[in-house]
């Protein structure tokens, strides 16, 4: 927790009187913005008044199509019910339409004589359904004719459902026409099918969802919709509505007609701007705002959501609105007066049962430089298209198979580099079976196998208000074990949030309580010459010591000061205080160094003697070609080490761990290079080096790869011609990944030099606990190769020097058997005073 923010009032009313904040609009934007303001202590700054057109609390408009299709009950889509407003001290005028804003006097006027003065005003009037100019659509009073519906509100849903199930002559099916074959129109069409209607979709463009899809994808979507029983009229312009009292049909521009009982108009949205325009704010397509979501005409007036126009763009999707709400809240509460909205990238999913479709960014390449990756299988309704610019994803259409969408959305959002193997972007290669979708997954399915957390438990946690993956993981402990389910937990949280996860700024921090990423933190530590974990909390945090952050900071100090930092042993995890791996019963495992898995007979004898003498319950070979003495009491550690007479094997920490090797060229009849000798050199060079995550290495004497060097953090493989391939970012634990080929070199020394340079770059730049397999993907192998091999950023000399200095500073921690680092270092319990 950061302390209370005392410089957070920027108003004229001083500390005592709260200022008045009036919010026009109680839709998703208005309500979310108020939530964000409350989350930033806005309840202390403002008396909040809200106006909402609809007589309800606030609901999730995105899910209205689920209401129409009968998948969800209306009661399930409410976000904030009426008691929520009361509980948060918000005065809500529900069902009261605002008629006028008087900026001169700072007042908002509502129907029925309601007047609310304001110091700050937020306009979140959203948008309304756009009704195209169709002859006969409106009656004399300007209202839609009976039988015509827009699809925008909960009331619209109720009316549409009633009409869809109305009685007809001869009990024939109700025939429904939907004007507009965009996202919402298709969702409405699917809903009407569920109500047993005969459904026709009329669309102006020659392909469906033309804003998001290219013609080829539109054609496949068309087939899928037709297979569902929807009749499509493409390239059709509706000219008029037929019927006297109520709708009996539609007439088109080409003089054809279509008989129907009801018409749903879903032809887009139109921002509600009249209130703003009437009080003199600049209105173009939407109400114009600056980067703080403020009107440039009046700094007491903010605008958010679909009615806002930012840098010429208005948004009709929900994600941008969440981003805007955060910026607005940061700014209005003065929590961050520099908060700026920079526009949003658009990604969307079609929620039509039976069709899987996601799109993001642009549907077509902009020029010849744009790379297009395309897979098309129309017969099975599958179409995948990616548009890549400068190695980054700028557009994607995924139809019929959403397996890779979570990954692609992330790559698109973060503008991260894509793997060179483009095929991997479209398909999961070499992974068995198809995953069940999140919808299909049973509620009691175990998601986190380490901590036994089910899908249902994650849902309950999200329902309880924890709306970021991190919060859910902290509360349920899902993903906090081996971490392999983190991706799935994140997907589930997103799914339960209906796609609207809260952004978590601390996710970018190196440790949660200090608002800096690793680079910023490293620079601050250097600039101020901070050498201890305590001083980091004092000088860069608010003085509060977060126990969970201590090991991460200790690790960073060790890298920054190349092992010359001021060691505070209490900042270390217990494994690093007593140099063994803690077991479930509180005992420790002892793993002596054994480079390349090579050992001497007398070492084996000593190990056996130690196991006998200290009654070690288990002696086991490890996966890293070592011998593990498991179950040693803390008190016995110094004596065990002394009797072994071998250096520490560093099998417990976030550091260089082991280097496996095969027999290599000396004995193996296939061997091409001396992998054993290289493994010994590697261990001598890197042992004891702390790193963000553990480093497991291997050397292989030939491409048969008996030592599994292709799936190691760093692996060296001998190839014909006396050369070595260096692979980085491999993994074969909870996550399996083949390493990327960094380069091919000529000698052991080159492997040590370039492998070491990679390790140092990883040490300086990876997040805490980020293994190389994530790090390499995040940075991208091409960029890594440029930095490490080609020295494109002129870092090589400094990396080599830093690694050298750090390696020289490491020492055998088992020497603490003779010189303990702290009092009672190896005591698990002390007798009390009266016993002495």
């Amino acid at each position: 927790m950061t302390g209370s923010n005392t410089n957070g009032t920027n108003g004229t009313h001083g500390a005592r009187g709260k200022r008045r904040l009036v919010v026009i609009g109680n839709g998703m934007a208005g309500a979310r913005t108020v939530e964000e303001i409350l989350a930033r202590g806005g309840g202390e700054l403002f008396d909040i008044v809200m106006f909402g057109d609809e007589p309800y609390g606030n609901y999730n408009r995105i899910l209205l199509s689920n209401v129409v299709s009968g998948v969800q009950d209306p009661s399930e889509i409410f976000l904030n019910s009426l008691p929520w407003y009361e509980a948060n001290g918000i005065k809500l005028h529900a069902g009261v339409r605002v008629t006028k804003i008087d900026r001169l006097t700072g007042q908002v006027f509502g129907e029925g004589g309601v007047v609310e003065p304001y110091d700050k005003l937020i306009i979140a009037t959203g948008s309304r359904a756009f009704v195209p100019p169709i002859k006969g659509a409106h009656d004399a009073d300007g209202r839609l004719r009976p039988g015509l519906f827009t699809f925008r509100t909960l009331d619209d849903c109720h009316a549409i459902m009633a009409a869809a199930t109305q009685a007809t002559e001869g009990e024939r099916r109700v025939r429904a026409a939907v004007i507009g074959g965009g996202l919402l129109g298709l969702e409405a069409a699917r809903g009407l099918i569920n109500h047993g209607c005969e459904v026709h979709v009329i669309h102006l463009s020659t392909h469906l969802m033309n804003m998001q899809l290219d013609p080829a994808a539109g054609a496949i979507l068309r087939s899928s919709m037709e297979a569902m029983g929807v009749t499509l009229h493409l390239g059709a312009l509706t000219a008029g509505v037929l019927g006297e009292d109520r709708v009996t049909g539609l007439a088109f521009r080409d003089d054809t007609t279509l008989e129907c009982d009801m018409v749903v108009i879903s032809a887009g949205i139109q921002p509600n701007t009249s209130l703003a325009a009437e009080c003199g704010l600049t209105v173009e397509r939407g109400i114009v705002v600056d980067n703080h979501m403020r009107s440039p005409d009046d700094h007491d007036v903010y605008v958010v959501g679909e009615c806002a126009q930012h840098r010429g763009v208005t948004y009709g999707l929900v994600a941008p609105l969440w981003e805007q709400a955060k910026v607005l809240a940061d700014h209005i509460t003065d929590r961050n007066p520099n908060a700026m909205y920079m526009g949003s990238k658009l990604a969307t999913k079609l929620k039509v049962m039976g069709i899987e479709l996601a799109s993001m960014g642009v549907p077509e390449p902009a020029g010849a430089e744009d790379e297009v990756v395309l897979f098309s299988e129309p017969r099975r309704g599958r179409y995948k298209k990616l548009i890549i610019r400068n190695g980054r994803l700028v557009g994607a259409i995924m139809l019929g198979d959403l397996d890779k969408v979570a990954y692609l959305t992330q790559a698109f959002d973060r503008n991260s580099p894509l793997p060179e193997e483009r095929l991997e972007l479209l398909f999961d290669l070499g992974t068995p079976g198809k995953k069940v979708t999140l919808d299909e997954m049973p509620v009691d399915a175990q998601v986190c196998n380490c901590n036994g957390v089910s899908k249902g438990a994650i849902g309950a946690c999200v329902g309880g208000g924890r709306r970021t993956p991190k919060l859910v993981m902290e509360a349920t402990r899902a993903g906090m074990g081996c971490g392999s389910c983190k991706g799935l937990v994140t997907e589930l949280v997103t799914w339960f949030c209906g796609g609207q996860v809260d952004d978590d700024p601390t996710a970018h921090y190196y440790v949660p309580t200090i608002p800096m990423n690793k680079k910023e933190l490293t620079e601050a530590i250097r600039a101020r010459g901070i050498t201890s974990v305590s001083d980091i909390f004092n000088e860069l945090g608010d003085g509060h010591v977060d126990p969970g952050a201590k090991p991460a900071l200790a690790s960073l100090l060790s890298v920054v000061w190349k092992g010359q930092h001021q060691e505070e042993r209490d900042a270390r995890f217990i494994n690093d205080r007593v140099h063994g791996n803690i077991q479930k019963d509180g005992t420790f495992s002892v793993v002596p160094e054994m480079p390349g898995g090579i050992c001497q007979p007398d070492e084996l004898r000593r190990i056996a003697d130690v196991a006998d003498k200290y009654r070690v319950p288990l002696v086991k070979l490890t996966g890293g070609q070592r011998i593990d003495l498991v179950g040693v009491k803390k008190e016995d550690l110094p004596d065990v080490w002394r009797d072994l007479g071998m250096p520490a094997g560093f099998a417990w920490g976030k550091s260089y761990r082991t280097c496996k090797s095969c027999i290599g060229s000396e004995y193996c009849r296939y061997g091409l290079g001396d992998s054993m000798d290289l493994a010994v050199k590697i261990e001598r060079r890197f042992r004891g080096l702390e790193s963000p995550g553990k480093l497991k290495l291997a050397t292989a004497g030939c491409p048969r790869n008996c030592s599994e060097a292709l799936v190691k953090d760093v692996g060296a493989v001998a190839v014909e011609g006396g050369k070595w391939e260096i692979y980085v970012g491999g993994a074969a634990g909870s996550h399996i990944r083949k390493g990327d080929l960094l380069c091919v070199v000529d000698s052991h020394d080159d492997v040590l030099r370039l492998g070491g340079r990679f390790i140092q770059y990883y040490r300086e730049n990876a997040k805490y606990k980020e293994r190389t397999y994530t790090f390499v993907e995040r940075i991208g192998i091409e960029r890594l190769r440029a930095i490490i091999v080609d020295d494109s950023e002129k870092l090589a000399a400094e990396l080599d020097r830093a690694l050298d200095e750090s390696a020289r500073a490491t020492k055998d921690p088992w020497l603490e058997r003779d010189v303990p680092a702290t009092v009672n270092q190896f005591r698990s319990a002390l007798p009390v005073v009266t016993d002495r």
């Binding site: 906090m480 126990p547 900042a571 009672n824 319990a829 009390v832 009266t834």
Partner: protein, 127 residues
């Protein structure tokens, strides 16, 4: 009712760490914060019996070394609301000696926990 027990001195505990102390029939963990505060708790984590004294200590908070359960040392509460730990009131005299107030009624019935006892007690059942 509570009885005060002298357990040891602050010098016996490294700064920012914890150590177990064996009272007759009862093992407790005592922590010495870098801020000078001293806390005492039950010795095993209620989750899987992890040795709390080997945990990471922050401002009035403790993280168990086995599965990173986190406890508030002033209330004993966990972050997720399950399984709180017992907290005992402590005081430190001018000479650095630490006293811990324990309930007079023995909390645990069972064999005396000896120094170096390798077999921790079974996990405590949820209240």
């Amino acid at each position: 009712m509570a009885t005060s027990h002298k357990v040891g001195t602050v010098d016996e505990i490294p700064l920012g760490e914890g150590r177990n102390f064996d009272l007759p029939g009862h093992r407790i963990a005592v922590f010495r914060g870098r801020d000078g505060r001293v806390f005492a708790t039950q010795s095993e984590c209620p989750h899987r019996g992890g040795p709390l004294a080997d945990g990471l200590l922050g401002d009035g908070a403790l993280v168990c070394p086995l599965h990173e359960w986190r406890f508030d040392l002033t209330t004993g509460a966990t972050e997720n609301g399950a399984c709180p730990i017992e907290i005992y009131r402590t005081s430190v005299a001018d000479d650095g000696s630490i006293s811990v107030e324990l309930p007079t009624v023995a909390i645990r019935v069972g064999p005396l926990a000896n120094e170096g006892d390798r077999h921790p007690p079974a996990p405590r059942a949820k209240a």
